[in-house]
Amino acid sequence: MTDVLAHLRRRERWGVAEIAFWLALVAGIVAFPARAGLVNEALIAGLFALSLDLILGLTGIVSLGQAAFFGVGAYTAAILANAGYHDPLLGVLAAIVPTALIGFLTAPLLLRGSDLTRLMVTMGVALMLGELANREDGLTGGADGLNFTVAPLFGRFAIGSFGEGPRNAALFSLAVLFALLFVARRLARSPFGISLTAVRENRLRAGALGISAAWRIVAIYTISAAFAGVAGALLAETTQIASLDLFEFHRSANVMLMLIIGGAGYLYGGVIGAGVFILVRDVVSAETPEYWEFWIGLMLVALVLFGRERLANLVRLRR
């Protein structure tokens, strides 16, 4: 028994590579403010992918509708700002409420059926919310989207696309990502998180051990939805627009690709995958702006044929 405890404690500890990873990110943003916009985008995509990792990587629930929460979070921040609450931190925190609620209400839909049913239901919910946002154009601005401005963070650091704006935005996103990854890390290492792994590996056997899958799936889906909502709010605030394309199918598909590129199940996969994805897109689209998706597609096909598991194992050995 003490061996198990010691093992769990060891997993809980922060490794050198982990600390270096975060320091490198801070240094990167400060040293290359000209690229901060791109880094910001990658960090937000990384947070979005982290939210998917909670359900896909930890719990084994597939979803093609994570964009639902991304969009709702973004619109929450935008609507709040237009109602006169310009504080960016408030917007990010406020995004948690509706997304967690929608996640909680739609999670029971995931409990029945096959993986295919889940893919379809999550996709359907995202498309429905997109249509709703399109219809309620008094609230959401319809197809034009919502433009808005946010106040400087803590009253001092301006966020936006001019001057110091991109750098501050990237640092803000990094701080939020770090905070949420910290939470996710604690969550994954907690008894609750370990029971999620049991549900993922064998739901029937987990049930026989007295670990009921249903409420655990609802709980983690709610948390994941809130994470995605925060990512959406961050994106809306740092680009100062919320638009309907946030709900679109390709957002949900792309975030899954990012997570898979980086490797699911160890929390950092989403951040790394998002970094690779955004970097590839940036480099390739500098050459051929319209055809960058081709290379992402090729990467995926190769990844699946080579075997995701094998790749993930290589990474795991390295760590």
């Binding site: 059926g113 379809m120 239901v121 919910v125 199918f249 898979i260 090729l298 995926l300 699946v304």
Partner: protein, 287 residues
């Protein structure tokens, strides 16, 4: 009202031909092929290019719109897809989305971003009036053609030796192989027919949606998946009913409640899957 209903049925029939192949690969072969729409795009392009650049008449292009995607389908099935039979659904989703992501820029690169229009021949234009009920000639044409395809598919799968062998191979491919059934060949043929039908559907649908363009695979992917998941991925009949239901709902919805738009369809799908996770017309509770 009846005219609207007929329009809905025509649209549903189109959806059926587009998604029949998906229903077969998904329901019979347990393979999630999200790249199915790419075959539909290929068929649409075959028809559009043959008509616009080579002057081939519309009806003569349709067989090619079936055969070329079918051939490409077999080539891909033999080289790539078959490695993933039995892989996890996630792997299949990722792989086929990867293919979609490759197909769209490739089409864009080769043929440009502009939609390729299809000019229907004169005899398919116009409307017929029958006891006060009007219907477009092209709509009638699609209903008849697609209806014939649906009927022959169903007979093919249920009544012929091939169909019986296919169902046996799906239920247990090892035992079927042991009984002397060439499972590989069966799957390859089935996949070819499915891809070919998608191509034909793409060619037929191209006029309705205003031409073929590189976004075709994603545009139709969502609706095809909805058809299959509402109908229950157990074969042809489920997909047919799912497609008809969706086609009628969509046309009626757009007419009577245009502001809600596509919301109805998505809501129907989510409601269906909540109540019957395996689809409306699924047989039994296969998990």
């Amino acid at each position: 009202m009846l005219t609207l209903l007929l329009d809905g049925i025509a649209y549903g029939m189109l959806l059926f031909v587009l998604s029949a192949g998906l229903a077969v690969t998904l329901g019979l072969m347990n393979f999630i092929n999200l790249a199915h729409g790419a075959f539909a795009m290929l068929g649409g392009y075959v028809t559009a290019l043959l008509m616009n650049r080579a002057g081939v008449p519309f009806l003569a292009t349709l067989p090619l719109a079936f055969l070329i995607p079918a051939a490409v389908g077999v080539a891909l099935e033999r080289t790539l897809y078959r490695r993933l039979y039995g892989a996890s659904p996630l792997d299949q989703v990722l792989f086929t989305i990867g293919l979609v992501f490759m197909a769209m820029p490739a089409a864009n690169y080769l043929l440009g971003n502009q939609p390729q229009q299809i000019n229907l021949p004169d005899f398919l234009h116009g409307r017929l009036e029958f006891q006060g009920v009007g219907i477009g000639v092209y709509r009638l044409f699609t209903i008849l053609l697609c209806g014939a395809i649906a009927a022959s598919l169903q007979i093919f799968l249920v009544r012929t030796r091939f169909g019986a062998q296919l169902r046996a191979a799906v239920d247990d491919s090892r035992v079927a192989g042991g009984m002397g059934i060439n499972v590989d060949l069966l799957f390859a043929i089935t996949f070819a027919v499915g891809s070919g039908l998608a191509g034909l559907g793409g060619a037929l649908a191209a006029d309705v949606v205003g031409g073929v363009d590189p976004s075709f695979p994603l545009k139709f992917l969502v609706i095809m998946l909805i058809v299959v998941s509402i109908g229950g991925a157990n074969g042809v009949l489920g997909a047919l009913f799912g497609a008809l239901l969706l086609g009628v709902l969509d046309v009626l919805g757009k007419y009577y409640a245009p502001t809600i738009g596509a919301f109805i369809i998505y809501a129907v799908m989510v409601a269906t899957l909540t109540l019957r996770p395996n689809g409306l017309f699924a047989k039994g509770d296969r998990r």
